[in-house]
């Protein structure tokens, strides 16, 4: 009888350790939490000085694959409809991801010398998420558009 009791205690201790371990793991995951859509919106707000953005703007076109097999290199092209003259041009294009460890991807700074507001690059996407492009015009107006990308294998490591 005493022996069984001892065993019981042992099992309990093991269970207790398991629970403790699980909670440590949970905390570990929480510390590497991903950005949320709210973080992305907040980041855009910081970058654009809080100007009201025209969401889903027809001026901003994002070319992205619908499904990215490899999240480590996802090709992206952003085109902003603008004459790119001294009086009317695109100043910045911010690319933002709402599901990566941090929302910012890259910010392009353009001048009228670019002639055309079209940029291409390759980005990392950790999971299926929205990519947002925010264009800041020379008159201070902000136009954003977003597109969802399904990511089969994430590309952020860790």
């Amino acid at each position: 009888m005493t022996k069984t009791n001892e065993n019981m205690v042992r099992v309990d201790r093991r269970e207790a350790l398991k629970v403790a371990g699980a909670s440590v793991l949970a905390i570990g995951f929480a510390s590497t939490a991903h950005a949320t859509p709210e973080d992305a919106v907040k980041y855009i707000g910081e970058k654009t000085g809080g100007a009201a953005a025209t969401e889903g703007s027809a001026k901003v076109t994002i070319k992205l694959p619908e499904i990215a097999e490899n999240g480590a290199t996802v090709p992206i092209t952003v085109v902003v409809d603008s004459p790119m003259t001294d009086a009317d041009h695109v100043k910045h294009i911010h690319l933002v991801a709402d599901g990566n460890p941090s929302p910012q991807i890259v910010s392009f700074n353009l001048t009228p010398g670019c002639g055309k507001a079209e940029v291409s690059t390759r980005i990392r996407l950790g999971k299926t998420q929205n990519v947002i492009a925010a264009a800041v015009m020379s008159d201070g107006s902000v136009h954003t558009n977003k597109q969802e990308v399904k990511v089969t294998i994430g590309g952020c490591g860790g």
């Binding site: 290199t73 690059t121 590309g155």
Partner: protein, 107 residues
């Protein structure tokens, strides 16, 4: 950077023509989120700034974050105004500067 970045700029262009410039740098773009074999995080080391300038004036630049892929590829456009040398600069987290110069003749 151990290897020189590649820049594709047309050798010549018409005045006012808009030409596409493609750049490809060789860099691991370590995010700072990955863990090494010893379980410790590998420190972040990325190219954080790219600049294209002409005659000392910045035409295009990019502020890069860890979400840019390894070996960053950036393609953009420039309006050909006059012949001359374009300077392309990459700066990494250790403030190491890599510079490439390309000449374009505008007629």
């Amino acid at each position: 950077m151990s290897k020189k970045p590649r820049v594709k700029l047309p050798k010549s262009a018409q005045k006012g023509e808009i030409v596409e410039v493609k750049t490809l740098a060789t860099h691991g773009m370590e995010t700072g989120n990955r863990k090494g074999k010893d379980g410790n995080k590998i420190p972040r080391l990325i190219l954080n700034k790219f600049t294209c300038s002409f005659g000392g004036k910045e035409i295009f630049s990019a502020d890069m974050h860890p979400s840019v892929s390894a070996n960053p590829y950036i393609a953009f456009n420039i309006r050909a105004e006059s012949s001359g040398e374009y300077t392309f600069t990459w700066i990494d987290d250790n403030k190491e500067v890599t510079e490439v110069k390309e000449t374009m003749t505008v007629s």
